[in-house]
C-alpha cells in the first residue's frame, strides 16, 4: 500500500460508521426510554438479541426475505417491549429509581437465560438473505451489507424523528418527557404513551438485531450484553434523553473504536469506549448535545 495512511484512515471511517450505526439504533431506544421514564433499561440489549432471533426464525424457518423479516422482528420486539414495560416496570412506577434499575437488570438476565433455555446457548448461523457484493473504490472496500445497514439505520432514524416531532403521539411523548404530571393533568394517557415509547424503542433495537445478524452471520443468546453497554455509552455521550444525541453518540463511538483498533492497538478498543464514558461523565455529564440544566431543589 503506497498512499497507505489516507486509504487506511478512510477505510477505518467506513468500518466505524457501519459499526456505529448499529450502536446508534440501540442507543435510540435507551435514550427514548430514559427521556420519558428516567430509567436506564438494561434489558434493552436483550431486546436487540430477541430481534435477532425473531429475524433468524423468519429467514431460516419461514424463508422470508429481508424486508418482511425485519418488519416482523420489529413488530415482535415492539410487542415484547410493551409486555416488559407492563409486567416489570409499570408496577414499579412509583418505586425508588434504584429498585427499577435492579428490576431492569433482572429482566435482562431473564431474557438471556430464557433464550438459552429455548434456543440453546449454541450460536446460530444467520442465513444469507442477500449476497454481500463487495465494491472496490481504489483500495477502499465497501460491502453491500454495510450500505444496507447504514441506509436502514438512516431511514429508521428519519422515521423516528418524524414520529417524535410531527405526530400526535410524538407530541404526547415529548410532553410526558418534559413533565409527566402536567401532561397527565392535560388529559394525556401516560400509560399509553410510555407503552408506545417502549414499543418504538424496542422496534429499533429489534431492527438492529436483524441487521447485525445479517452482517456478522452469527447470533447467540448473550449477544446483547456488550452492544447494550456500548449503546449505553453512546447514549450518554450524545446526551441521554436526546434523540439526535444518541445517533451522533453511536456513530462517534463506532468511529473511535475503529480508529483506536486501526492506529493504536486492538487491545485498547474497549478501553477507549469506556474511557469516553468516564471523560464525558467527568467533564460534560449532560452529554455533547445536552443543555446544562440545573436541578431544581
Amino acid at each position: 500500500m503506497d498512499s497507505g495512511f489516507m486509504h487506511q484512515f478512510v477505510q477505518q471511517l467506513i468500518n466505524g460508521v457501519s459499526l456505529g450505526s448499529i450502536y446508534a439504533l440501540i442507543a435510540l431506544g435507551y435514550t427514548m426510554i430514559y427521556g420519558i421514564l428516567k430509567l436506564i433499561n438494561f434489558a434493552h440489549g436483550d431486546v436487540y438479541m430477541l430481534g435477532a432471533y425473531i429475524g433468524f426464525f423468519c429467514t431460516s424457518m419461514l424463508k422470508l426475505s429481508f424486508l418482511p423479516s425485519i418488519l416482523v422482528a420489529m413488530a415482535g420486539t415492539a410487542l415484547a417491549g410493551m409486555i416488559i414495560e407492563r409486567v416489570a416496570y409499570r408496577p414499579m412506577r412509583n418505586a425508588p429509581r434504584i429498585a427499577i434499575l435492579i428490576t431492569a437488570i433482572g429482566v435482562s438476565f431473564f431474557l438471556e437465560n430464557a433464550m438459552i433455555l429455548f434456543a440453546s446457548p449454541q450460536p446460530r448461523t444467520f442465513p444469507a438473505v442477500f449476497t454481500a457484493t463487495v465494491y472496490h473504490f481504489g483500495a477502499l472496500v465497501i460491502n453491500s451489507q454495510q450500505i444496507v445497514i447504514l441506509v436502514s439505520a438512516i431511514v429508521l432514524m428519519i422515521a423516528l424523528t418524524y414520529i417524535v416531532n410531527y405526530t400526535k403521539i410524538g407530541k404526547a411523548m415529548r410532553a410526558v418527557s418534559f413533565d409527566a404530571d402536567a401532561a397527565r393533568l392535560m388529559g394525556i394517557n401516560i400509560d399509553f404513551v410510555i407503552s408506545m415509547t417502549f414499543a418504538l424503542g424496542s422496534a429499533l433495537a429489534g431492527a438492529g438485531g436483524v441487521l447485525v445478524g445479517i452482517y456478522y452471520n452469527s447470533i447467540e443468546p448473550l449477544m446483547g450484553m456488550v452492544p447494550g453497554i456500548k449503546a449505553f455509552v453512546a447514549a450518554v455521550l450524545g446526551g441521554i434523553g436526546i434523540i439526535p444525541g444518541a445517533m451522533m453518540g453511536g456513530i462517534i463511538l463506532g468511529v473511535v473504536e475503529a480508529l483506536v483498533s486501526g492506529f493504536l492497538s486492538s487491545t485498547f478498543r474497549d478501553a477507549a469506549a469506556f474511557a469516553i464514558l468516564i471523560i464525558i461523565l467527568l467533564y460534560k455529564p449532560q452529554g455533547l448535545l445536552g443543555k446544562n440544566v440545573r436541578e431544581k431543589v
Binding site: H7, Q8, T125, V141, Y216, S266
Partner: protein, 390 residues
Amino acid sequence: MTRKFKTLSVLAAGLTLALALGGCGGGSKSGGGDTVKLGGNLEMTGGSASYGISSKNAIELAIKQLNEKGGVNGKKLSLVVADNKSEATEATNAMQKLITQDKVAGVIGPNLSSAVIASTVVSGGAKTADIAPMATNPKVTVDDAGKVKPYNFRACFIDPFQGTVMARFALDTLHVKKAAIMIDNSSDYSKGLAQFFKEQFTKGGGTVVGEEVYLQKDTDFKATLTKLKSAGPDFLYIPGYYQEVGMIVKQAKELGLNVAMAGGDGWDSAKLAEIALPENLNNCYFSSLYSPDDDSALNKEFVAAYEKEYKAKPDVFAALSYDSTLLFAKAMEAAKSTDPEKIAAALETLDGFVGVSGPVKFDKFHNPIKAAVIIELKNGKQTFRTKVNP
C-alpha cells in the same frame, strides 16, 4: 468372548463385590486371573458425553481386536467403565472406584483436562498408570511445582505444539514469509499457539509483520483486519475457536485480504463453514491431532473396523483412546507383567510404538512426541493435506 471367560468374569465381579461389601480393601491384584482389567474413567453422561462415548467405543474395539489375537501376555483384556459425568469431582470418585474396587491394571481417561487434574491425585497415590487420551492442559502430567507426575500420561500432544507445527508447514510447504497473527486474548490456548508459532516462524526465517488481539464474543474485526492488511502479510494465523475465526475469515475476505489463513484444532467444527461461508474457506488450513482420512495403513484399517462396528467415522477422541489402549497393551508386553506399577515404568521407556495417530514416544514430562496432521479446507470441506513430524 468364550463361555468360560464369561463365567470367569462373572465370578471375578462377584468376588470383587463380596470384597467390597466386606469393607476390605485388600485382595489379589488384577493379574491374578486369566483376564486383565483396564479401567475407563469416561464422560458417559453430562456436557461432554460425546467424548466419553467415542472413547468407550474405541477402547472396546481395541480390546476386542487384541483378544482375537490372543490377548496380552496370554491373558485376555476387559474394560470396566466408570462414568465421571463430565465433572472433576465425579472423575475423582470414578478413579477411586476403578482402582480400589475393580483393581484395574491401568486407567484410560478422563478426556477433560480439569477432570484429569483432579483425579491424578488418586491414581498417583495408588501408583496406577493413567493415560488421558485428549487432555491437553500441561498440568495433566506435571504438578504445580513443575515436577512430572510419575503415573500420568497422555496420548495427545499439548496445545502449543500446534503452533510449532503450523509455522513449519507455512514456511516449508506454503513458502510464505510474512505472517500476521490474530490472537484470542481471552484464551490461554490461543496465546500458547500464537507464541509457539511466532518462535518457530521467526526461527525459520519468516517475519511476523503484525500481531493483534481480540476477545471471545467480539463480532467486528474489520478495523483490526484493515490494520493488518496494510502491513502486507502473505499469511494470517488465527489460533482461535471457530465462532470468532469464522467471522474473522469472512470479514478478511470481504476486505480483500486474500492470503492463506490457518489455525489450530479450534477450527474443527461444521459451524465454521456456516459462519465464514464455504466460498471464503479456500487456501485455509488447520492443525489437528488426528484425521480419519490419514492415509497410513494402520489408520485405514482402524477406520474400516470402527465404521463396521459403529456405523460412523471415528473422531479424534476415538482414535486417541484406541491408541491409549494399545499403549497399555504394549507396556504390559514390555513389562511382562500386569502389575500397575511395572506398567507405569514400562510406559515411561516405551519405544517403537506406532498407533493410528502415528508413532508415539513419551518425553520426560510424559507428553507424547508425535506427528500432527494438517487439514486443508476446500470450499469449506475438510480434506487431509499432510502430516508434519516433530
